[in-house]
Amino acid sequence: MHSTVIVGAGPAGMAAAVVLARAGEHPIIVDEAEQPGGQVWRKPAAPLQPALARILGRAAAAEHEQAHAEFASIAASVDHRPRHLAWNLQGGELFVIEHRRIRPLRYGALLLATGATDRLLPVPGWTLPGVFSLGGAQTLLKDQGALIGRRVVFAGASPLLYLAALQYKAMGATVVAVLDTTALPEKLRATPALAAAAPRVLARGLSYMARLRAGGVAIFHGVTALGIEGQDYAERVRFRCSRGAEHDLAVDAVALGFGLRAETQLLDLAGVPLAFDVDFRQWLPIVDGDGRAAPGLYAAGDGCTIGGAAAAAISGRLAAYAILADRGVAVPATEVAMLRARLARLRAFQRALSRAFAWPAHWLADARDDTVLCRCENVTVGVVRAAVAAPLGPREVNRAKALTRCGMGRCQARFCGLATAELMAHALAAPVATMGRHRSQAPVKPIPLDATLVDEDTP
């Protein structure tokens, strides 16, 4: 039995490990990635380290370095297991796989800090080679210093579009345009709430836009009718701007991002209830303010509530204090109170952001029938619509999956699940929350068939 196991060495998991280690604990922290850091503090490949400030900007690079230095300082008290995927959770055991070796880990407390991935929206041509998720585009850059293309369009509904565009520009790519599907008035309406919650973060975000503009990058707000075309790979992006004019841009790559979606599979496997969040328009686990999900089970970071890197780190610390408090260890009350207050502000900011950058779910109402919805199983919008319209047709997403294979493939509906629910809700004229969510099934990600079980304590 290990006292605490943490899944995810992103900002949330790292911060939690620091608190636990300083309290004299020896947590295990597993992460499928090679390096700690998660999405935002991803550690670049060694030759790229000197370019960090250029990629991230000076302020972010400093935060990045500080987080890693802090994590490195507790290395002796933490059992960090990179390249370990947690793929199943059952009866108080976490099943972890590393290179074909499966180990069941028993734990006293389990903290799930699994982060978020891109939310995608199927537009015509989104499955063409050369089209990446925004996160994928950033990962490639931060991990390997590689670009998805030379002439890149960033499109979608997310503040991260601007950040990623800037990073690409800094590394020498031509950013053809940023196509923001949210309208400017909506963003202006959200500004007071954003400014109240986190003025500095807002200022940083606005500076990204200003710097892109100054660098000659075209920014379009309120973009509609987005589509990607090309023979064998993405060659053109077509769209309509807010003035109603049609545009056609030559590109060799496109990054698409419509916000984030929490990675909740392990929480779901553990039986933690999820509720539909109307702002984030997705299902999030029901936890208390410090991340308690069930006895012995805790959640933090973007896998729990979309909040951004700073909120993730704070929620990781709070969850670690909750673990300690639940064991009867005294925790610093004033620090906890201060963390809670800052977390509340940052999350309020993120909520306002989610309204300013709402994903255009209504696009699914008139999505073309031939658009691929589930790319793993190659199921189109039309196939799901036809199933819904048939007698005894599906009324929620799991049934749609059973009948059409939509969401049945490798990604377990990570990338089509939310869009499928929106599509069905439009087809049935029903609220999207009543379309349900895809039930999680092990493995969280595919594992090799030739994996074998080894004893928990075999090194």
Partner: protein, 404 residues
């Protein structure tokens, strides 16, 4: 309150309930039939099973029913207007180099031929010649007539066909209770729906004992399910469905390339919480057995695991036939992990019972009375292919008796 008057009411919209409704309407278009399903049609065992339409290897008492079902499956598009990925791939019932396993396969082959099913016994060389990718079996019985179909598609398709033939299908409508007064069943269902019927069919799957209990009878049902998984898609090369007679691994490949696998032993599932947990260790075991049987699958990945809620009885035979306590109550449940194949046959047989009062297909082995009078045996594979906790549960039931 709405009162619906029908000739036959069917509790349970799984395969058994839906096929029965379709067959009743096809055979007597004047017969008013209603299926009442607490969730969605075919969302339980009928929709999550492994998809084997295996005839060989069954208890000999089941073969006439199974063959009747097979000839209906073979006409599926005629009957329901959809193909549901039915594919007569053939089935290999395979033994390792073990005298008991070999004897079991030989017995199954003999019983099949006595019942009129053509099978072929193949030795290791013949196996290697026909299926060079298959490994570790010393012989097998090959039944070319055995088939597969997509269980996710079949029940809704049968229900649509039944509806098109005039059957009433009520989804999201749980039956809370039923009683017979005079010659009429009164059935209370969710949403204030009351149904009056001349005949009541209990096709409630793993939940059927509750329905039987309303009429003072029962059966030692054990709700359970086999651990199952599917791999990611690999090029299509596994044509037949393959089953190791010891139950350790059963697999088939679908045209899209995914390999569907059932392992063992079966684990308890929970019909009340509606959960069918899958033990990770059993899955990892089954992955090993699969790779030993088909080494070429090395490099494939595990995509998803699942199980289901099926009703098992200790003698591994279903209950099909009239109630012992109540006239015009007919049971069809407890299909012990092999009801997918039987379903159209069961529907046709129940239509016999409802419309004609008897069936030409022998049903004597399936009477519910066998548990009350203690004549039911505990099957050998029931003791082997289930978790111990489940065996204890069934054997402790007063209706079950251990004979060996």
């Amino acid at each position: 309150m709405t009162v619906l008057r029908v000739n036959t009411a069917i509790v349970g919209g799984g395969l058994m309930g839906c096929w029965t409704a379709l067959m009743l309407r096809r055979r007597d278009p004047g017969h008013c039939v209603c299926v009442i399903e607490k969730g969605k049609v075919g969302a339980q065992a009928s929709g999550v099973n492994y998809g084997n339409l295996r005839i060989q290897g069954r208890h000999p008492g089941q073969l006439p029913l199974s063959l009747r079902a097979a000839s209906l499956w073979e006409r599926l598009p005629d009957l329901i207007g959809e193909g549901c990925e039915f594919d007569a791939t053939g089935h290999l019932y395979a033994a390792r180099d073990d005298a008991r396993e070999i004897a079991k396969v030989e017995t199954a082959a003999r019983q099949a031929s006595e019942a009129g099913l053509a099978t072929e016994l193949l030795d290791a060389r013949a196996l290697a010649q026909r299926w060079p990718w298959l490994n570790g079996f010393s012989m097998a019985s090959w039944s070319p007539r055995d088939a597969i179909a997509n269980p996710r598609l079949v029940t809704p398709a049968v229900a649509r066909a039944a509806r098109a033939h005039g059957a009433l299908i009520h989804e999201d409508t749980a039956v809370h209770g039923a009683a017979r007064t005079g010659a009429v069943f009164r059935i209370d269902a969710a949403g204030g729906l009351t149904i009056e019927a001349d005949t009541l069919i209990n096709a409630a799957g793993a939940w059927a004992p509750e329905v039987a209990g309303w009429f003072g009878e029962g059966a030692p049902i054990v709700p359970a399910g086999p651990p199952q998984f599917v791999t990611d898609a690999v090029p299509y090369f596994i044509r037949p469905s393959v089953q190791a007679v010891d139950g350790t691994v059963i697999f088939r490949q679908v045209r899209q390339g995914h390999v569907v696998v059932a392992g063992y032993p079966r684990s308890p599932s929970d019909p009340v919480a509606n959960r069918a947990p899958v033990d990770a260790r059993k899955i990892v075991n089954a992955m090993g057995h699969l790779l030993r049987a088909v080494p070429a699958l090395e490099g494939a990945t595990l995509l998803r695991v699942w199980s289901g809620i099926e009703g098992y009885l200790p003698d591994m035979l279903p209950v099909i036939g009239p109630s012992g306590t109540t006239p015009r109550l007919v049971h069809a449940f407890g299909f012990c992990g092999h009801g997918f194949q039987l379903a159209p046959g069961v529907g046709d047989v129940l239509a016999d019972l409802v419309l004609e009062g008897s069936s030409r297909t022998p049903l004597d082995r399936f009477s519910i009375g066998r548990f009350a009078d203690g004549s039911a045996e505990v099957a050998e594979h029931f003791t082997r292919e289930f978790d111990r906790s489940l065996q204890v549960q069934a054997v402790a039931h007063p209706g079950a008796q251990r004979t060996r």
